[in-house]
């Protein structure tokens, strides 16, 4: 089971939920925690893993052999990101624009382009409370986070329960993080801001064909419009977490609540039961749909 935990809006409690869920499951399951928020990873603050290994992550960038280059401009034509400019007797590569797709090297008729790795960050692996922990750290100022996210996800072990902690938003880094998940839990809050970004995230997941459920954090403040939205859109609400002083105090100390409260450990186990049920129901519907499509 690959569970992604995401949200449109930042600061809704994705990491808090992901960490507590992982810890609640750890007793009975082999759990892997994948922090894909490579721009600002923070699950390690809760989980305090012992990191055993560090690997560089890189993307391939073109290097041009000007002895072979005829300045034909084919590489520039096939580059979708304007990372190469070609003039009559000159060629320029703008590494920070390069997405590492390799098209320029592939299409170069003179074979003048070779791909050389450019470091974009690191992947760290470790263990925390019996949980297999992996995260990525993007180099400051680096724009290309998806290749690092892919490198982090490359460490996934399909034999385990995989919990992916996604970055906020609905753009490339989030799509890269949640792609391939069996189910996505969207953490939101009952405010106009939470609702707006939740509806964007739901649209994104529909495009990716990933079934979703919602967790409403700070559930007893704000209004009912998130609940109404979920009912209308047929997205199940799987858990409510109240706006609670004790929870806030533990959070402020960087402490996961399930390590301090068996009540909350049971609640997160209950959430897992609901997630697997919702995921199975969605998979069932999918099979049904395919059977209908097949005639």
């Amino acid at each position: 089971m690959i569970l992604a935990i995401a949200s449109g809006k930042g600061g809704t409690g994705k990491t808090t939920v992901a960490v507590n869920l992982a810890l609640a499951l750890e007793e009975n399951e082999e759990v892997q925690y994948i922090d894909c928020d490579v721009e600002e990873p923070n699950a390690h603050i809760f989980l305090k893993p012992d990191f055993g290994s560090t690997e560089m992550a890189s993307i391939p960038n073109p290097e041009v052999d000007e002895n072979k280059c005829t300045y034909c401009g084919k590489c520039k034509e096939v580059c979708s990101f304007n990372a190469i400019a070609v003039f009559k007797d000159n060629i320029l590569v703008f590494s920070e624009l390069c997405h590492g797709c390799g098209s320029c090297a592939y299409f170069c008729p003179e074979k003048a382009i070779t791909e050389v790795p450019r470091d974009i960050g690191i992947v760290e692996k470790g263990v925390a409370h019996g949980i297999d922990f992996i995260h990525g750290l993007l180099n400051p100022g680096e724009a290309m986070s998806p290749p690092l996210i892919d490198a982090v996800k490359g460490e996934m072990d399909s034999q385990k329960v995989i919990i992916i902690d996604a970055p906020p938003g609905t753009s490339c880094p989030v799509v890269t993080s949640v792609k391939g998940a069996d189910f996505c839990l969207l953490v939101t809050e009952p405010t106009p801001f939470g609702l707006n970004d939740l509806s964007l995230a739901v649209q994104m997941l529909r495009k990716l064909d990933i079934p979703a459920g919602v967790l409403i954090n700070r559930a007893d403040i704000g209004d009912k419009r998130v609940e109404d939205f979920c009912r209308r859109e047929g997205v199940p609400v799987l858990m409510h977490i109240p706006f609670d002083e004790e929870l806030a105090k533990l959070y402020a100390k960087g402490e996961p609540v399930v390590l301090h409260s068996s009540i909350w450990r049971d609640r997160f186990r209950g959430l897992w039961t609901k997630i697997t049920a919702a995921s199975d129901a969605a998979a069932g519907k999918e099979t049904e749909r395919k059977e209908v499509d097949a005639g």
Binding site: F81, N82, A85, F87, L92, F94, A143
Partner: protein, 136 residues
């Protein structure tokens, strides 16, 4: 002589656009200020690298001189390979900016006048003003 001017639209009366990579239009005039060519900027909607693509376009059009408001570091790196002369500080209409060029009121530059991504923010926050050294 082919002079490229960054503008909001076609014609000598169009207002100039002070961005290089993301101005909507380029008007090309000769040394008498007569229009010889006009073109929509192909990189105005580029998700990234607009300055690089625009530089490629301007050089491919065979421009000898570029009149703009600002130019960023990547665009300048690309433009610099061609020997094109770059002047910043245009204002008013396309015709006005040509007069400013003729009267040597513009700043010739060899260094970028704004940080990268400047044109995406719709102005504001840049260094502005140019850092002319002359000597072209």
């Amino acid at each position: 002589m082919k002079i490229a001017i960054c503008s909001e639209g076609p014609g000598l009366d169009s207002a100039v656009d002070r961005r290089f990579g993301r101005c909507p239009h380029y008007v090309f005039v000769n040394s008498e200020g007569k229009i010889i060519e006009e073109a929509a900027n192909p990189s105005v909607g580029a998700s990234g690298g607009a300055g690089v693509q625009a530089a490629q376009f301007i050089i491919d059009q065979g421009a000898d001189v570029l009149l703009t408001g600002n130019v960023g570091p990547k665009a300048l790196a690309a433009l610099s390979t061609s020997g094109i002369k770059i002047y910043t500080g245009i204002s008013g209409s396309v015709a006005d900016s040509f007069s400013q060029y003729q009267q040597e009121k513009l700043t010739p530059i060899t260094d970028s006048t704004v940080p990268q991504h400047f044109g995406m923010r719709g102005g504001g926050g840049g260094r502005g003003g140019g850092r002319g050294r002359g000597g072209f």
